[in-house]
Structure formats: structure tokens, C-alpha cells
């Protein structure tokens, strides 16, 4: 089976960067996840074929790494850091806010397919805690109110918050949203 032309090309280019083909398996998984929306069986089979890694071992990798998902998530997946530094500065309130606002449990997707949230471990932004990552963008120094505003803007503006492995580019993110100052 084949993915889109650009996905196949992207992987072919990425493979060139490694002395051994198998090293490209994680990038391949990212590409498949991006193209197919999640790492379903089709995606895993494609990765196995393209990288020469046994299908069972591809499945191992898909389940080992936290950033691979076997089910589709919301268009915006809000990953709230729950580790100690963020917890100390109110991460719990962020999670509570999301739970109450969307009426969802972590991992569940809203009916319109727009939203999901989950708790993740330390995102490496402890100086601006509490922090969440929405798709591939960080949103720092959060409060429930701030997050509410962010969600409003996302609903209206629908920006691209994802990093594309296929295009090797990061979505523009929320326009004019203040970048963190972690110094």
C-alpha cells in the first residue's frame, strides 16, 4: 500500500540522513500518523514495509512512545503537563477546567471531533508552569481563564498548531500569542 506522493518522498529523503534504514522508523511513524490521522493497522503495515522492521516490532514502537496514538484525537489535542513543577503551580486546575468545560475524560474526543485532552509528563517548560501543549505548540503561564481565551481563539481562527514531518514545517500557531520568556 502507498501513502501520498509527498509522504513517500518525505520518507525517502529522511532515510538518506541515516546510515541504517531502520533508524528512520520513528520518522516513518510520524509520517504515517500525520497522513492517516493516527497509527492504525494500515499505518503500521506501511511503516513495516518501508523500513524493513518486523510488523510486531513496529507495533512495539507505536505503543512504547507517548507521542504515537492508535486512535484519532481531537483536531486540537490539549496535553496538560502533570509533573511536579507544573502541579505545584496549578496544573490540576487546568485539568479540572478542561474536564468541566468539555465534559470529557482524558483521551476522549468531543462529538464535533475538535477537542481532546490528556495529562502528559514534564514538557520541559517548568519555568513557565503550568504549561500545556496543543498539538505541537506550547502554551505557557496558563490559568484556566487564559486557556479559555486560547480555546475561544482556536475555535474561531482554527490555526495550524502541528508540526508536519512530511513538509518539515511547524504550523504558524496562534497569531500574536506571546512567546514564552524562560530566561
Amino acid at each position: 500500500m502507498k501513502l501520498s506522493e509527498r509522504a513517500e518522498t518525505a520518507l525517502a529523503e529522511i532515510k538518506k540522513k541515516y546510515p541504517a534504514e531502520k533508524s528512520a522508523v520513528v520518522p516513518a511513524l510520524y509520517i504515517a500518523q500525520e497522513e492517516l490521522g493516527c497509527l492504525n493497522e494500515e499505518a503500521l503495515a506501511w511503516v513495516a514495509e518501508r523500513t524493513g522492521v518486523q510488523p510486531a516490532h513496529v507495533r512495539e514502537l507505536a505503543s512504547f512512545y507517548s507521542m504515537f496514538y492508535s486512535r484519532r484525537l481531537g483536531r486540537y489535542n490539549i496535553q496538560v503537563c502533570r509533573t511536579l513543577p507544573c502541579a505545584l503551580r496549578g496544573a490540576e486546575k487546568i485539568v479540572e477546567y478542561l474536564r468541566d468545560r468539555f465534559g470529557l475524560k482524558p483521551g476522549q474526543v468531543s462529538a464535533d471531533g475538535m477537542w481532546s485532552y490528556e495529562e502528559v509528563e514534564c514538557l520541559g517548560s517548568c519555568g513557565t508552569a503550568p504549561v500545556c501543549r496543543i498539538n505541537d505548540h506550547y502554551f505557557e503561564n496558563l490559568t484556566p481563564q487564559k486557556l479559555a481565551l486560547i480555546i475561544e481563539r482556536l475555535t474561531v481562527e482554527k490555526p495550524d498548531l502541528s508540526y508536519s514531518t512530511i513538509l518539515d514545517s511547524l504550523g504558524v500557531g496562534l497569531k500574536d500569542y506571546p512567546k514564552s520568556e524562560i530566561v
Binding site: Q54, A56, H57, R59, E60, F64
Partner: protein, 532 residues
């Protein structure tokens, strides 16, 4: 550094629990300790798989090392001082802790688990821990009773993540069906979608699994191992001669496990061989002699048999008789004074690459023994086919069919039956009551299966091995060596080897100059390579 090679193996002297020992360089501590009868418990270590070092139960104390070392990954060094659980409280505590850790999420399945009674976790727990559980939490739940292939069934909760099964499929069969998905205490054995564990050696993972996470489907729930008797045998499926341990209960084979033999099968077995033992115990069984297709008394049948032997003979021998039997037959035929030719039912088999990892391209377990005994030589398959053809063409006058598989099932066609029917003198030793041959043969004596005998076999590489009796033969049957002796006696021929069952092999070994110095006990420890 010494040069590699059997003659230049540098020896290393070290101490384990205060005992000095000298072992070849390159040995790990588990193997070294074994040489002095010290068991270092281990789950993930296997001598023929890569070192994983994940179970941590083989930890030992090495003088000079601040932390405990894992014995499987530590090679012997000159002057090393090692302390096992026998002399180190720290080691004993660490081992007990590993068992405790394994057991916290391990399901309380012993009452319904096939592994019970032969389970390393049970055995080690009683030996190295035997403490009550301190775990008050909820156990992690995983998949239960999931068939993952035609022969193997998985219980995810019992798995201790030793990765033996994964390493076997990656390193030996290179089929890579298995993986451990997830992270932390949620790891679980899994296959990829649509894939099954179906390589030709698949059942081996159930042998390798130290617990009841992977068990054999064909034998699921059939018995508790402690009700069965086990015999150390050699598989008669092909000329590889895999060493195995066969459990029998009430005459039924209830479990076949591979035995470790680095020179033959490591600790692997093919599915065909392992699950196919039944085919060597035909049902229903011939337990009385036949004359012209009807039951007869032994004395009458034996007399008739003697008559058949008085004249030129075409002799077909089965490829799974014992070496002693081939030797006896050879001696008998040569002393009989008749013209005779012997062929062995050898047919070459085509194997794919996976099968060829372990299986030999034949269904002839002991053909090399027949060669060693001087009974057959040259192109066995061609000779067999030619002789069959002669029978088909009605050119056979005296035919002796010695052993159930002396004629292959697929070769018993109408022409062969006609040819045999036309021959004036025909006799056979068979074990199946439903052989098509019985109706056309003059006399048939009820013989035994290789599984019902104890004795010597030579595998395709020339390795002499000893197999123990697996099942008791049915009353009324006689082993082929006994029949040869009886026939010889009827002719007044004294054979060199005793026909007494308990000493058959010993006597044979003593009387065969090429095997001087060998004994059953020596051969039982993995066999001996012969050069001939």
C-alpha cells in the same frame, strides 16, 4: 589472549561460594556454577539466545564489585570470587525480591495453569523466596487465553517479560512474529495485526517460556504434569534426532518438551516432530500374529516366518529401528546363509528455509545407524525405489518387510500389493492393525514402535544418541530385536549381542569395537559424535 580452538581453550580458575573451580575461558557464571552443581536461578538467560539480562534473578556478588552482577552477563575471570545465595545474604535477598516483584502482578492462576508443577516461577519461589505476598494493590490486567498461533496460546498476565520468546523468533527463526508492546508494568506480548505465530518451530516458545504465559494448545488442560511419567527420548520424526522429554499418562503422550543439546537441537523442536509423536503409535494396534491375513498363534506364525526366510530375500527395513536392531539383523542375515539384499525406506524431502533450520530433509530418523551396522549403503533412495519396482513387476520371490515404516504409506499401491501377493514367500513385522499389507502377506508378527523401545540411534550428522522408552508396548507385541533373536534361535544361530532387554545396549556397545569405551550413561549426556 589464547587462540581460539578446542585444543587451546584457556582455563580459568575462580572461586564460587568458597569452592575453587577451573573452567574454560568464556563461560558465564551460570554455566560455571553448574559445573560444580550450584544452581544460579535464571529466567531470561538461555545459552543459545542473546543475553537479555532483564529478569535480574541471576544476580550474584562478585568480590570487588560494589553492585551485584548478573551471572548471565558476567564471564569468568582468573581469581574471581563469586558468592551466590548460598553464601551471600545480599544475593538471597535480591533474588527473593525479584520473585516478589514478579509475583505482585502475576495472576493466581496456578490452579488452572498448565505450567503448574513444571513452572520455574513456582520452583524458584519455593526455593528462593517462599514468603507471603505483601502486595495490597490491584494487579495489572492483560489478555487471557488468547491463541496466537495454531499451536501456542498466550496468557498475557502470566508473562514475566523475559523476552525469550521474542528473541527466539528474532534470532533463531528470524520470523519476528512477537513483540512486547507498551511500557512499564503494562508491557504485554503481542503480534502484529493479521499475523500468527506460525513458523515451523513455533511450539518452541512454549518450551522456552519459564511460566505459563505461552503453553501448547494441543495439550491444553489435558493433565497435571505430576500424574505423568517422563522419559528422555530422541524424536523419531527425522534424522536430526532432536532431544526431547516426553510425558506420558495412561499410555497417552501428554507433553513433549525439547531437551537441551547444543550439538543437535539446542533446545528447539519443530512442530511436526513435537506434535506428531502420535503417528508412531498407530491405532488400532496389531497385537497378534497374522497368517495369510488371519490371526494365528505365535509358535505357528514363527514357524511360518522361518519358512519364509529359507530362500533369497529382498529385505525392506524401516528407518526408525534401533542401531542394536540393525546390527542384530545384519548379523542374522549374514549368518543365515541365504542370498539377500537390504533397502531402507529413505525418501528425500523438500524443505523451505525455515524448516531446514532444524528439520532434516527426510522422515528417516535412524538411517545412519543402518549404514553404520553395514546393513545398507550407497544411494538409499535409489535402492529403495528400485527394489520397490522389482516388487511391482512381480520379480520378487522372498520379501521381508521389517518394521511398520519399512514400506512408506504412499508406496503401498495396487501394483506393490499385487507383487507381494504373487511372491511365494512374504513376511513382515508391523505394528498397525490396519496395514493394507497384512492381507497379502504370508505372515505378520506384531512389532513395536521406536517409542516403545530404549536404545541407540545415530542422527544424520553421525551423532550416537540414546533414547529411553517413552510408552509401554501393548501386551502381545514384541520388539524387533526380540523377534530377530527368536528367529535366529530357531535357526540355531547364536547372535553376538544379548537379547535381554535390560542389557541390549550395554552388550551391543561392548561387542562393537568401533564404539569401545562408550556406555549408556555417557551417551545419555548429549550423545557422542561418530566419524564414519
Amino acid at each position: 589472549m589464547s587462540e581460539a580452538g578446542p585444543l587451546h581453550n584457556e582455563m580459568v580458575t575462580l572461586k564460587i561460594d568458597g569452592r575453587a573451580l577451573t573452567v574454560p575461558q568464556g563461560l558465564n557464571l551460570i554455566e560455571a556454577a553448574k559445573t560444580v552443581g550450584i544452581e544460579i536461578p535464571h529466567f531470561c538467560y538461555h545459552p543459545h539466545l542473546s543475553v537479555a539480562g532483564n529478569c535480574r534473578i541471576c544476580q550474584v556478588k562478585v568480590k570487588g564489585s560494589p553492585k551485584l552482577e548478573i551471572a548471565c552477563n558476567t564471564k569468568v575471570r582468573e581469581g574471581m570470587e563469586v558468592f551466590t545465595h548460598l553464601t551471600s545474604k545480599e544475593v538471597a535477598e535480591a533474588q527473593a525480591a525479584v520473585l516478589e516483584f514478579i509475583l505482585i502482578n502475576h495472576p493466581l492462576d496456578c490452579t488452572v495453569c498448565d505450567e503448574s508443577g513444571r513452572c520455574k516461577l513456582q520452583d524458584y519461589h519455593y526455593k528462593y523466596n517462599a514468603r507471603d505476598s505483601r502486595f495490597l494493590e490491584n494487579k495489572v490486567r492483560k489478555v487471557k487465553a488468547k491463541p496466537i498461533g495454531p499451536y501456542v496460546i498466550l496468557d498475557g498476565e502470566r508473562c514475566i517479560a523475559c523476552t525469550r520468546c521474542i528473541r527466539f523468533c528474532d534470532e533463531i527463526t528470524k520470523t519476528g512474529e512477537l513483540g512486547l508492546v507498551g511500557r512499564g508494568d503494562r508491557v504485554e506480548i503481542s503480534l502484529s495485526e493479521g499475523r500468527r505465530l506460525d513458523n515451523p518451530l513455533s511450539g518452541t516458545v512454549a518450551d522456552l517460556c519459564p511460566v505459563g504465559a505461552l503453553t501448547h494448545r494441543p495439550w491444553r488442560f489435558n493433565t497435571r504434569i505430576w500424574f505423568a511419567k517422563e522419559a528422555e527420548a530422541v524424536c523419531p520424526g527425522c534424522s536430526t534426532g532432536c532431544n526431547c522429554r516426553v510425558a506420558v499418562r495412561d499410555g497417552e503422550i501428554v507433553l513433549v518438551r525439547a531437551r537441551l543439546n547444543p550439538a543437535v537441537n539446542k533446545e528447539w523442536m519443530c512442530d511436526e516432530g513435537r506434535y506428531g509423536f502420535k503417528r508412531f503409535l498407530p491405532k488400532p494396534r496389531l497385537v497378534r500374529p497374522l497368517i495369510d491375513g488371519s490371526f494365528a498363534e505365535w509358535t505357528v506364525a514363527a514357524a511360518r516366518f522361518k519358512q519364509v526366510l529359507q530362500g533369497e530375500l529382498l529385505v525392506f527395513v524401516a528407518p526408525d529401528l534401533l542401531l542394536e536392531e540393525y546390527a542384530l539383523l545384519k548379523e542374522f542375515l549374514s549368518k543365515l546363509g541365504q542370498k539377500y539384499s537390504v533397502v531402507l525406506s529413505y525418501r528425500r524431502r523438500t524443505l523451505n528455509a525455515l524448516q531446514a533450520l532444524l528439520i532434516s530433509p527426510d522422515y528417516a530418523a535412524d538411517f545412519r545407524a543402518a549404514e553404520f551396522a553395514g546393513l545398507v549403503a550407497g544411494d538409499l533412495e535409489a535402492s529403495y525405489n528400485e527394489t520397490l519396482q522389482r516388487v511391482r513387476e512381480g520379480k520378487a520371490d522372498g520379501v521381508l518387510i521389517f518394521g511398520q515404516r519399512a514400506l512408506l504409506e504412499e508406496d503401498i499401491d495396487d501394483h506393490v500389493l499385487q507383487g507381494l501377493g504373487r511372491a511365494s514367500r512374504t513376511a513382515a513385522v508391523l505394528s498397525s492393525a490396519e496395514s493394507k499389507l497384512s492381507s497379502v502377506l504370508g505372515v505378520v508378527l506384531p512389532g513395536q514402535s521406536i517409542l516403545e523401545k530404549a536404545g541407540l540411534l545415530i542422527n544424520g550428522s553421525g551423532r550416537l544418541q540414546y533414547t529411553s522408552r517413552v510408552v509401554e508396548p501393548p501386551w502381545g507385541t514384541k520388539p524387533e530385536w526380540w523377534i530377530i533373536n527368536a528367529l535366529a534361535a530357531a535357526f540355531g544361530i547364536k547372535l553376538g549381542v544379548s537379547g535381554d532387554e535390560s542389557q541390549l545396549t550395554e552388550h551391543y556397545l561392548k561387542n562393537e569395537p568401533r564404539l569401545a569405551g562408550l556406555t549408556v550413561s555417557l551417551l545419555s549426556k548429549g550423545g557422542v559424535a561418530l566419524k564414519f
